[in-house]
């Protein structure tokens, strides 16, 4: 599978996750979100960028619980809770945000 963004094609797996993390560009995230009917705001980007940094450091996508805790530590307690993250990413913060960030599906994610 693949998605087209600005005339460029990006390979994805069958669930729409980017095949090659290094191919990621901000436009890819925007296009993926658009396809889901979501307009990305600064709050979305905060989480997406956080996920990319997390992956860069640990080479995995975090589980929801870990993401929530880490976001709270980094961006403040008001953002470090599941409700906030689910409102931003209604399909599930780990799954949906990871996808936009170009990360593979988190381990242990159901």
């Amino acid at each position: 599978m693949a998605i087209e963004v600005n005339g460029k094609s990006y390979d994805t797996d069958e669930e729409g996750y980017l095949a090659d993390l290094n191919q990621w560009e901000a436009e890819v995230a925007t296009a993926m979100a658009q396809a889901d009917g979501t307009e990305l705001t600064d709050s979305h980007w905060e989480v997406i960028n956080f996920l990319r940094e997390y992956y860069e450091e640990y080479q995995i996508a975090p589980a929801v619980r870990v993401l929530t805790k880490a976001i709270g530590k980094k961006l403040g307690k008001d953002k470090g809770n599941s409700k906030y993250l689910y409102e931003l990413f209604p399909y599930g913060p780990a799954k949906q945000a990871c996808k936009y960030a170009g990360l593979p599906k988190p381990t242990g994610c159901v």
Binding site: E57, Q59, I60, V66, K69, N81, S82, Y86
Partner: protein, 130 residues
């Protein structure tokens, strides 16, 4: 039905020990173990990791796998703390016979003698060996 952001009722928590005895890249065991550990941790189980025999090589600092075309998963061991997996033990004998010290390792560990490891194993409810 609960909203997705509400915590699910807590299930039983068991004491899981993962015994890692293989070097990281020659076989798939080390990576498989790490994935299973992350899953158990995501389900908030009481997780203990033991690195013994060649398993101590899994957490050797400075791994650089670019030239062999395999993903370097050693940074992931440093993510375990965020998963509340903080009980990491290393066999003293295994470390010493391989010329390593705790300074060579990517994560803080507790070094145990074989008798201490044996006692720790006896305390577990589930032991998975890789």
């Amino acid at each position: 039905m609960a909203e997705p952001w509400e915590d699910e009722p807590e299930g039983p928590v068991r004491k899981f020990m993962y015994v890692n005895r293989r070097a990281p890249y020659g076989t798939i065991y080390a990576l498989e173990s790490l994935e299973v550990v992350l899953i158990a941790a995501a389900f908030e189980q009481d997780v203990t990791l033991v690195f013994m025999d060649d398993g101590v090589f899994q957490i050797k600092k400075g791994q650089s796998t670019e030239a062999i075309g395999v993903k370097n998963f050693s940074p992931t061991y440093r993510a375990l703390e965020g998963y509340d997996v903080e009980k990491l033990y290393v066999s003293r004998e295994s470390l010493e016979s391989r010329g390593l010290t705790t300074d060579d390792l990517v994560v803080p560990v507790q070094v145990l003698d074989k008798d201490q490891l044996a006692a720790l194993m006896e305390e577990q409810e589930v032991i998975l060996s890789f």
